[in-house]
């Protein structure tokens, strides 16, 4: 009806409409601002470090200019060394030398101490020769060091993102694999996705039948079961993980029980093992998988299943053709939620997982807290975020899941 009136009055109405549509936005403004400053901006700032690394370029302005004149590949001529000495002397005086040396070290292992030595040399000797500098820092006499310095002077870099996939720029200017002893991240990503998949499947195997039972018992009992499922949900994840430590350890409750039941003859190593990690993560994630499934199952009318049976559908046919298609959105939503949350697990692998069960978050935390290599942390975070978003897009686009429509 209103569509008929629209064309004539659109111009007069649109200004008012515009104001009206802004009003709800104003109500949400405090939250949006909070999100922007506490969530959006830091994430962008941190993730940008994965590709934007100006430290080397900032520290070596003269060297950058001299390298541009030098033009030749390999170890450059005297003027570049002069410029480098000046830059390092400057950096030494300004106090930026340590950060520069650390940043270069990430690309050129061993460069840190040698650069500091050259800087000290430049401080004592106003005009150090090329030989003297190479003597102080043998790396400067090698061709690959200068390749690293040249790429390092680019403010925008793909170095860290490539590293996240265990790739690097080779000296020939192509992308190749890093040496086997440095290749670590693809294995960690693979392990993270594997454990997330296993935990998701385990929660689904537990949650689906439980949700079905909950929809088919009296509301009082369903409520009690729901509280029991949610009770751990309301407990701190740290406390729950600590509780699992008590249960899973070698002389813990689970091993006592298994021995008493005679199911094992020896005490199992559940702590600091993948089995223990998956058990603990499954427990923590169960409500996340269960609740979307339960909510969708409750919305399926029992009369539909009766109708399907009276129309000749055998129980399995009814389940496959009438029930499952209707609860599938909840199953997908629950699994997606658990899978994504599993990708970011940190404290549980630290406390329960073994050394070979550390997930990508543990590496990110390590880079942030211990190595202080924020660029690498940013690159790994970026890959994690991108794969999560990619997964979400695939689920919504190709499996017809709409999280915004979930009740």
């Amino acid at each position: 009806m209103s569509s008929i009136a629209m064309p004539t009055s659109r111009a007069t109405i649109s200004a008012k409409d515009h104001r009206d549509s802004l009003r709800p936005l104003a109500l949400a403004a405090p939250l949006l601002l909070l999100l922007l400053f506490s969530f959006g901006a830091p994430i962008v700032a941190l993730l940008s470090r994965a590709v934007y690394e100006p430290t080397i370029a900032n520290a070596l302005p003269n060297t950058v200019a001299a390298l541009r004149l030098d033009n030749a590949a390999g170890v450059p001529a005297e003027p570049v060394f002069v410029a480098l000495a000046a830059d390092l002397k400057q950096a030494q005086a300004a106090g930026g030398i340590y950060e520069f040396a650390k940043t270069l070290n990430a690309r050129l292992p061993g460069a840190r101490s040698q650069m500091l030595r050259v800087a000290r040399l430049a401080g004592q000797d106003p005009k150090p020769t090329k030989e003297a500098m190479i003597k102080a820092a043998p790396l400067l006499g090698e061709e690959q060091s200068w390749t690293a310095i040249r790429t390092g002077t680019n403010r925008f870099t793909s170095f860290f993102l490539l590293s996240a996939f265990d790739l690097r720029w080779t000296d020939q200017g192509t992308i190749g694999a890093v040496s086997a002893d440095q290749a670590v991240f693809t294995r960690v990503f693979g392990r993270t996705f594997l454990i997330a998949t296993l935990v998701t499947l385990a929660t689904l195997a537990l949650a689906f039948p439980l949700a079905y039972v909950m929809t088919n018992v009296r509301p009082v009992i369903a409520g009690i079961v729901l509280v029991l499922v949610l009770l751990p949900f309301w407990t701190s994840i740290l406390v729950r993980t600590a509780a699992w430590t008590v249960i899973l350890q070698k002389y813990g409750l689970l091993n006592d029980l298994l021995l008493w039941l005679g199911m094992t003859s020896d005490r199992l190593e559940l702590m600091y093992s993948r089995t223990g990690l998956i058990i603990a993560m499954t427990h923590i994630q169960l409500p996340f998988t269960l609740l979307p499934i339960y909510s969708v199952m409750r919305s399926v009318q029992p009369s539909q299943l009766r109708a399907a049976q009276s129309l000749g559908g055998r129980p399995f046919t009814v389940f496959r053709r009438v029930y499952l298609p209707q609860v599938m959105p909840g199953v997908l939503a629950g699994c997606l939620l658990t899978f994504i949350l599993c990708l970011g697990y940190y404290i549980t692998p630290v406390l329960i997982g073994g050394a070979s069960d550390q997930l990508i978050s543990n590496f990110i935390a390590n880079y942030v807290n211990v190595e202080l290599n924020w660029e690498m942390a940013a690159a790994l975070s970026f890959v994690l975020l991108a794969s999560t978003l990619g997964l979400y897009v695939v689920m919504t686009r190709y499996l017809g899941l709409d999280l915004f429509k979930m009740g």
Binding site: Q301, S303, A307, A308, S310, R321
Partner: protein, 412 residues
């Protein structure tokens, strides 16, 4: 209106392929094509569905008590009663969703005790339609065919014919949520009929529709019933719906059938005060039996009035009774000499085609009287009322009738 061409094409199909889909060769074909309205019917036809001493208990709750009922092939039988009277439980036992605690239910002479719902070949229509929301209308209707492994080439035309029958063939690609309640219920009906079941159960199918649509659907259901000759068991708590559509109506009260009979039989000769008040409108007058004279009795009303009425059941002088008289059976003075009363007009309600007069007897009891649309009577006016003894029935007051005796049929 459904054209005869459509109906005959449906019949041809039913006769042709009823046996492979129903699994009851020989018996289903004729049932779909001809409907034994009257005349001699075989034993299997008169007792197509039979409940024998069926009971259902939920813990200590007696949902259905000693139910005995036979339904003939092609009959339209309605279970009528207030909610909680056991009618839906009875229907669910017939459908196979509930198992009787005791007794036997037979379908076409065979006990269905061990038969799960999906092997009973019974179509069912639910109050909330129970369409599958993730399937299109055509897929919904095709469901019973595809689970029966009907060849794909055959499914399409049969779905189209079923949708034509309910005049929804244009909507075959829609999802149920895009349709109105009435349309959805017609889809559900097409789905319950497309596999040519011998028996269709309907659990308050029109309960969710508004009045006008409900009345329209009643006519449509009745036409489909006559066209296909299928046996229908219909559950409702709406007495006018039951009277309009059914061949026979079974009145349920507290888990038992208190009376079963044709609509006019129930209306004119209710067996209990409950049936009299549940079917149609009724004036109830409490009194004490003064004298019993054959099948008639004289009843003393408060403040010295007396009335004669047909005695229902075994009444003795001194027994408390309830008189039941329909509003349309009360006439003005002089028409019937049997029972005459003076009354004053308490009010008059206009209904368009008729009016309802509230008449207060000297005893203080108020009667509703149906009068013509043009009558003009002022409140407070003194009038005379009378009715025939044959139109007034005296029931034992307050007694809940025993299901056993009332079950045997209408009382005449």
């Amino acid at each position: 209106m459904v054209s005869t061409g459509q109906s005959s094409s449906l019949r041809e199909v039913s006769a042709a392929d009823a046996s492979p889909t129903t699994g009851q060769p020989g018996t289903t074909g004729p049932a779909m094509t001809s409907r034994p309205v009257s005349g001699p019917a075989g034993q299997g036809d008169a007792k197509f569905v039979e409940f024998i001493d069926v009971e259902k208990m939920y813990g200590h709750f007696h949902a259905v008590r000693r139910l005995n009922l036979s339904i003939g092939r092609g009959e339209f039988v309605t279970f009528l009663g207030p909610s909680g009277s056991g009618k839906t439980t009875t229907l669910n036992m017939l459908a196979g969703f509930e198992r009787p605690s005791q007794g036997v239910i037979t379908l076409d002479g065979k006990s269905v005790d061990r038969l799960p719902p999906y092997e009973r070949n019974i179509g069912m229509v639910f109050q909330n339609y129970a369409l599958f929301p993730h399937m299109s209308v055509a897929d919904n209707v095709a469901f019973p065919l595809s689970v029966r492994k009907v060849p794909k080439a055959e499914i399409g035309p049969r779905v189209t014919r079923a949708l034509e029958m309910v005049r929804l063939e244009r909507f075959k690609d829609r999802k149920p949520a895009q349709m109105s309640g009435g349309q959805q219920q017609r889809v559900a009906l097409a789905r319950a009929l497309v596999f040519q079941p011998t028996l269709v159960l309907m659990d308050e199918p029109l309960g969710a529709l508004d009045k006008k649509l409900r009345e329209h659907m009643q006519i449509e259901l009745k036409q489909i019933h006559e066209m296909l000759g299928v046996t229908i068991v219909y559950v409702t708590h709406d007495q006018s719906e039951a009277l309009t559509m059914s061949d026979r109506v079974a009145i349920f009260e507290n888990g038992a059938i208190v009376q079963i009979g044709t609509p006019d039989g129930l209306y004119n000769e209710p067996a209990t005060a409950f049936v009299a008040s549940f079917i149609g409108e009724n004036n109830a007058l409490d009194g004490i039996v003064e004298r019993v004279d054959g099948n008639q009795c004289m009843v003393a009303l408060p403040t010295g009035l007396t009335a004669t009425a047909m005695a229902v059941g075994n009444l003795r002088p001194g027994a408390a009774v309830q008189l039941a008289i329909r509003p349309e059976r009360i006439a003005g003075a002089g028409e019937h000499p049997d029972n005459r009363f003076k009354a004053t007009v308490d009010g008059r309600i206009y209904h368009g085609d008729h009016q309802r007069l509230l008449a207060r007897l000297p005893s203080g009891q108020v009667l509703t009287v149906k009068i013509g649309p043009d009558a003009t009577m002022a409140t407070g006016e003194a009038i005379d009322l009378c009715w025939r003894t044959a139109d007034c029935r005296a029931f034992p007051a307050g007694g809940v009738p025993d299901g056993n005796t009332a079950n045997t049929g209408s009382v005449t």
